[in-house]
Assembly symmetry: C2
Homo-oligomer: 240 residues x 2
């Protein structure tokens, strides 16, 4: 096992044993390196990995802190999987996404709060208003789409499910889908489907909510299959 793995597993073990708790500030690099028996450079490699995994939060000039360790945060790096795996064949990913979001809709139907339902309704109203105007703000519509699905996911009351949905239905996948959808004027159909989902949620009907969500996502999947292969190079170009 490399020194880096030693560091990662060491910190992981200490967290599991309760030595460090979420929100805690870790000892300074020098002391931590000493207590793990590695040099500061090796320690930093390990800490960097932990930081990318979302387990610790490193703040320059301040210190290193354990994150809250909640599922969405820890599942965030899974976006890599979506980017890489979805390259040639997004169908597998979307199959899983449909499975997850359908279950979320089913669970949310009995657990969602009235406030959340009102909020979701306002989002759809705003989407309807934007759709009526001539220069449609597609960026905003996409945000509303994501926010709507997020509300449902959150109110399934299962942080693990939320984390997975966030990772699988994040901006990357949506962005690729969007062009194919809005070009055909499918905004309207998408909006109608969203309304149907909301209606089922308001009725607190789990099976209806699940079915409406399934119908919605199957529609998205079919739009996806039509276009062959969209290789777009979006640069999250790093600065200087």
């Amino acid at each position: 096992m490399s020194r880096t793995d030693e560091v990662v597993n060491g910190i992981k073990r200490m967290i599991l044993e309760g030595t460090f708790k979420p929100g805690d500030r870790l000892p300074i690099e020098k002391d931590l390196a000493e207590s793990l028996g590695v040099s500061r450079g090796s320690l930093r490699e390990g800490m960097s990995a932990l930081s990318i995994l979302g387990i610790v939060n490193i703040r320059q000039g301040d210190g290193t802190y354990i994150t809250n360790l909640d599922a969405p945060q820890l599942l965030a790096p899974m976006g890599f999987v979506v980017d890489f795996q979805g390259q040639g064949d997004p169908r597998h990913i979307h199959t899983v996404r449909r499975l997850l979001e359908c279950e979320a809709a089913r669970l949310a139907a009995t657990r969602i709060t009235d406030e959340a339902l009102a909020q979701a309704g306002e989002l759809l109203d705003e989407a309807a208003r934007i759709a009526g105007r001539s220069p449609q703000d597609h960026e905003r519509i996409m945000e509303i789409d994501i926010a709507f699905h997020r509300i449902i996911a959150v109110h399934a009351d299962n942080p693990v499910l939320v984390g997975l949905i966030e990772a699988f239905a994040g901006r990357t996948l949506r962005g690729r889908l969007w062009r194919s959808l809005h070009e055909e004027g499918a905004d309207r159909r998408t909006h109608d489907e969203h309304v149907a989902i909301l209606k089922a949620l308001v009725a607190r009907d789990p099976e209806r909510a699940r079915t409406r969500m399934a119908n919605h996502l199957i529609g998205v999947e079919e739009s996806l299959q039509e276009l062959p292969d969209d290789a777009d190079t979006n640069g999250e170009a790093a600065g200087p």
Copy 2:
């Protein structure tokens, strides 16, 4: 954005653009650091993170290679989530696991090969033989359990689904479940449920397979709920 993130995103971008393909050997650290405009140390921090994420494979004395980038490999580090999140409350994780495995069983019913069915049957036979002996090899039984579920997952023909199931139903979670299960002599019930699942798969009946799997996992969940909170007695609160 820190240099480390620059490295991670830089490599990620190059992979997505096709500069590097799975299995490719990357340039040596010195050249790669130069082309990314960072020092070798910073590059190594980033590469270490990529290695832990399962995106590259670093072999000392040889070089750094892009992995095959398949879903199971990329989803492996998600075991962290199970370990941390499942600490106090494994129910959320197990709910997701049940969702995933039920879908896998449903899909596998129509896709599984005769060879795989035969293999699964042999596993269950072996489990039955072990259960009959007096000094029961629980370690081997657990391996068989994992292998049985894995066969089903793999034959759902969805690598993303396989990756998620591997992460959520791995050794860590099973290990915690095991004590509560085998102490009550529930091996027999588990085995019977496995046989029922296999029977449904042999019949190529998706809904029956799904239901049998659901029944099996609900049983596991109930065993889980019975024991209140397994506070392991580890008392090494090491305070430096």
